[in-house]
Symmetry: C2
Subunit: 142 residues, 2 copies
DNA sequence: GCCAAGCACTAAGATATCTAAGCAAATTCG
DNA sequence: CGAATTTGCTTAGATATCTTAGTGCTTGGC
């Protein structure tokens, strides 16, 4: 009996997801680290780095790294906010907006492959269970 | 409506698990990266690096890095196998064996916190669902 | 026995992530 | 108003992880 802990299962599943994503994104010169920020920006442009960090679930230094790569690939522009000069708002370039149509199907594909054989109900259960674990860890992890 | 993908949920949960583990392990000078290898070695000593990689779910270069840290902390010894000089077998030091009693409760604690409020049945569902996703991704991720 | 193929590990270099510490702009408050 | 605090971002340095490309040992076919 393996009797693996929840943490191990989650970590291992994460590594497999990241690998599947990386293999499919690499021909577009996008890495998984950049991917989550792109998704957040496709949903809403002009977010600050702090707000992006919150939505993607990383610390701010991680966000700085990822945005540096996205800027190097000409996917984003960083615009200092004139109302509050501490803040930098992140906007997509035309190139990045145009790539949404190519890239989103990749994410859907990976998720379809990953959840193949799961019913709608099972998928909702998974979301609920992971959501419960996340809120447990958020409140006591510090 | 957030409508987060399975991949995002798993990644975010993983980051929270890793953070909770890191906070609790740091006073013992053990990092999460080393943790999974320690667990595998507490279960069975003398594994080769390849076998360790397979059990922990990382590539071999990652295993090399993690074992380097464990060796620096005097937690393992690397012994060249005399029967097959390509292979290196990994053994725990007395120090590492002695720490099992202190460290295992930390893992149990993190898992208890993470799964608080989940019934036994729900925990089994989670394991089954993640297991299904893992096998889906293993077979098609490459 | 020789050599080609395969196997176990390592090196190099990139990305992903964290914590701790710092800087500069904005806000609060005496 | 001016100092202290807070806020948003950055830097520095460590760990974690991957892919690609070696190095050296073993084995199997001839």
């Amino acid at each position: 009996m393996p009797c693996r802990s929840a943490g191990y299962l989650v970590r291992d599943t994460h590594l497999l997801f990241a690998k599947a994503l990386r293999n499919r994104l690499q021909e577009h010169q996008i890495t998984p680290g950049q991917w989550y920020f792109l998704r957040a920006l496709w949903e809403e442009e002009g977010l600050s780095q702090r707000e992006l960090s919150r939505r993607v679930g990383t610390t701010e230094p991680t966000t700085v790294s990822a945005l540096r790569l996205l800027a190097r690939n000409a996917m984003i522009e960083r615009v200092r906010n004139p109302k509050d000069r501490r803040t930098i708002n992140i906007f997509l370039t035309d190139k990045a907006r145009a790539m949404k149509g190519d890239l989103m199907p990749i994410a859907l594909d990976v998720n379809d492959i990953a959840t193949a054989g799961l019913s709608e109900l099972e998928f909702e259960q998974l979301r609920a269970l992971l959501g419960k674990i996340r809120s447990n860890l958020v409140n006591t992890g510090l």
